[in-house]
Symmetry: C2
Subunit: 255 residues, 2 copies
Amino acid sequence: MIKVVILGAGNVATHFFKAFKKAENVEVIQVYNRSEASLEVFKSNTQTTSDLAQLKNADVFLVCVKDDAIDPLISKLSQLSNLDGIVAHSSGSVPLSASAKRNAVFYPLQTFSKQTEVNFKEIPICIETSAAEDFPVLKQLAHSISEKVFEISSEQRKKLHLAAVFACNFSNYMYSIAEDLCNQNEVPFEVLSALIKETAQKATLNSPKSVQTGPAKRNDQATIKQHLAQLNNADYKEIYKLLTQSIIQQDGKKL
Amino acid sequence: MIKVVILGAGNVATHFFKAFKKAENVEVIQVYNRSEASLEVFKSNTQTTSDLAQLKNADVFLVCVKDDAIDPLISKLSQLSNLDGIVAHSSGSVPLSASAKRNAVFYPLQTFSKQTEVNFKEIPICIETSAAEDFPVLKQLAHSISEKVFEISSEQRKKLHLAAVFACNFSNYMYSIAEDLCNQNEVPFEVLSALIKETAQKATLNSPKSVQTGPAKRNDQATIKQHLAQLNNADYKEIYKLLTQSIIQQDGKKL
């Protein structure tokens, strides 16, 4: 049985908590959060605390707080002499901490929002540990909820996180602009659902570069001009221009 | 039985041809293409021609050629006095033609590439006809391959096509940049597959705006700076900056 204490009560903490609850051989013995109010949802299922001095010892302390709060929190943990477990944070962009004795990263490469259920089995978990002997424990913990576990160095993880911003956050923003354009023109956004899913599916089965389509890819200047004329939001116009130009240049053509 | 002549031999024409072949009550009696070479793949399944004078009469002439070739081709068709079927083009950005007597649009809102099979059932087909009495025929034709058929005006279609460029072409370009960043850093792009599919899935189940995540959404300047420092491709840097700025401004925050 791997005993886990989760620190944080946001989206990532909540999704981890739910997943570990279903897992065999893992027990979340406590959830810590600085503010008491956010702990309410956990109280019926495990012990909770907003006082670091009350933390129980565990095999793994899983730090799921905002990036800039990670190092200060880990520093505080390292001063608590009764705790000797692995201290793993779950961030894609923060390097291995130098504060704790047993540092680790346990980074789920996924986007979490409270209202959507996630299937952890398919979520890649990227692991890194400062001590080689800690790796098997985190690997076992990761495999208890996911089928896809990767050993990824801090340097690789930084690049992955950056790549994920494009693949996920920015692609979602493209959907969001599309939604806005539909709403403005009383076209149901639902008409685009199949297209959005197919595009994502296709990109994961092929190299996205090889399946690029659209006016920019065809260097279809008539359509590009028509589209720009239709966009009255200055941001959207700039974005359309820049992405179109970049796609065209990638193909070695000039605007 | 609806008799169809397909004009064109590119991706859209090929996918329509395959879908109609499986459909009941539809027969593709001929495929026309200006260049003879591209007709080879159709020859074992239907009659083909590269000579407009040899076109057979049909219920529907489905024009699947490049946008700027649509009007010239429809003009030529309208001069052939032996043809009296509906002339429907399949473009998202070209308005109803004024050349033919019975004009229509039969626009599949999907991205097609030769190497990927598509499931037409889920592809929305947007229909518009100049004559009300032609609508039922095209509706029947659309329903023979798809469960999602919409009546969309030329004006709405223009906006939809523009929205689709963001939702599909530009989101694919975001995947493509992510792939490039992975390759540059010897990280398997496969690690991002679950994220890409989940992001698309989530956007179609919710409003994409409501599920936006990432450093820009959090206005996390430390991560944003770190990411910009990591990007050495000038295009990618510009794109990161512009999209980040736009997401932040949408939230009413200032950089």
